[in-house]
Assembly symmetry: C2
Homo-oligomer: 236 residues x 2
């Protein structure tokens, strides 16, 4: 009988105000021996934070990232088919959502291996629920282009989409580009739209604010080097 692939969310802030894992995660961490992870160091640290009794050196880690080889997928699938249960974790939040992992999950489906997703933090979802913008329809667009002129074009296109439809438009950004992206959003998004900036969600520096583009243009926030989500939407 095949094993299961357990999808284990991890903390989304380095300075959590409160513990964001459900008891079930602790249960799995205490028994799992094989992991597929984005980075071993972070994974070890998380495992240790959940259960100090786990002997880390007895665990087997596979690294899963954007450049992943067919070899790693094959090895992990073989273990799953042989009946081993495997935990999958990404660097922060839910694996396979704005993070690697979907390829392995997809392969599990084609091989009829069961997937067990666990509850945990997602900065995208928590930013959305906190934004006051529509959660009835929304689009997550990932990262913005790094180059300034491409980003301008990109924002202009998605601004049109946000103006035309009812979908809240969501973006994520690498912390070191927060300020540039914020400045471009205020510059190129229609003044009729609303912008929510959600930074360090669940963390000690958590900052979540929705305001009009006009308001933001004269009240720019102090954007630290923390993970941020940007949401744009209409509001009647």
């Amino acid at each position: 009988m095949s094993g299961k692939l357990i999808l284990i969310p991890t903390p989304i802030s380095d300075t959590e105000k409160y513990s964001t894992h459900i008891p079930e995660i602790q249960k799995y961490i205490s028994v799992l021996k094989i992991y597929v992870v984005e980075e071993i160091r972070t994974a070890r640290r998380f495992i240790r934070s959940i259960d100090k009794n786990v002997v880390i050196d007895e665990l087997q880690f596979f690294i899963l990232n954007e450049h992943n080889s067919a070899q790693v997928l094959g090895d992990v699938l073989k273990l799953l088919k042989d009946g081993h249960t495997v935990g999958m974790m990404s660097e922060a939040g839910c694996p396979a959502v704005a993070d690697p992992g979907a390829d392995l999950v997809f392969r599990c489906h084609t091989e009829s291996i069961e997937i067990e997703p666990l509850v945990g933090p997602s900065s995208i979802l928590m930013a959305l629920m906190s934004s006051g913008l529509s959660g009835q329809q929304f689009s997550f667009n990932g990262y913005m282009p790094a180059k300034s002129d491409e980003r301008q074009k990109y924002i202009t296109i998605l601004n049109k989409t946000a103006m035309a439809g009812g979908h809240t438009q969501i973006y994520i950004e690498a912390p070191y580009r927060n300020k540039q992206v914020f400045d471009d959003l205020v510059k190129y998004v229609s003044p009729q739209l609303w912008l929510c900036v959600a930074m360090d969600v669940t963390g000690k520096e958590q900052y979540i604010k929705t305001a009009s583009i006009k308001w933001w243009s004269t009240n720019p926030p102090v954007l630290g080097k923390l993970p941020a989500i940007f949401l744009i939407g209409k509001h009647s």
Copy 2:
């Protein structure tokens, strides 16, 4: 000093396989006296399941739904401004995501009242991470039109979007229409696309499967009267 609006996720299955709330929710439930909820009966049941010591009759409930009156929003905002902390819960999952609540959150932003989102289950997000379809870009489209001919048109348009772009397309459906929607998806979605059906996520009847449209057409699942999420996407 103003109070805070605490966004409290609730269970997404009536038959949870494991507890899906983080300890912080218990902490809030034990002290909160004022709630904004979608339905009082469900809210009471959830509160009782978390902390048996809470005296339910001492709690104040406001009902928040699609037809919400300005009066209720005004009353709750006044309490928040007077320094009371208020808990917000919807029927299942995260408030304000495919559920009511966004209007109150929005008003809190315009009145500079702090929002505190808590971690909890979202069937949309858990279905997405378990689907193996792209979680790098995705769109949540809410409910499908109820009428058959409108649904056909709707699926055809979103099928085009899924074929053209890289966004995984996500839908939610009322349990009693699961079968009709599944049949229409198999009929009108391009055979090159993949369909994930995620039913009763976190529950004892949890069923999550991704397969080709072609495969589904000859292997229809037994869709019970349970909440389901449908996801459509490309895979190379």
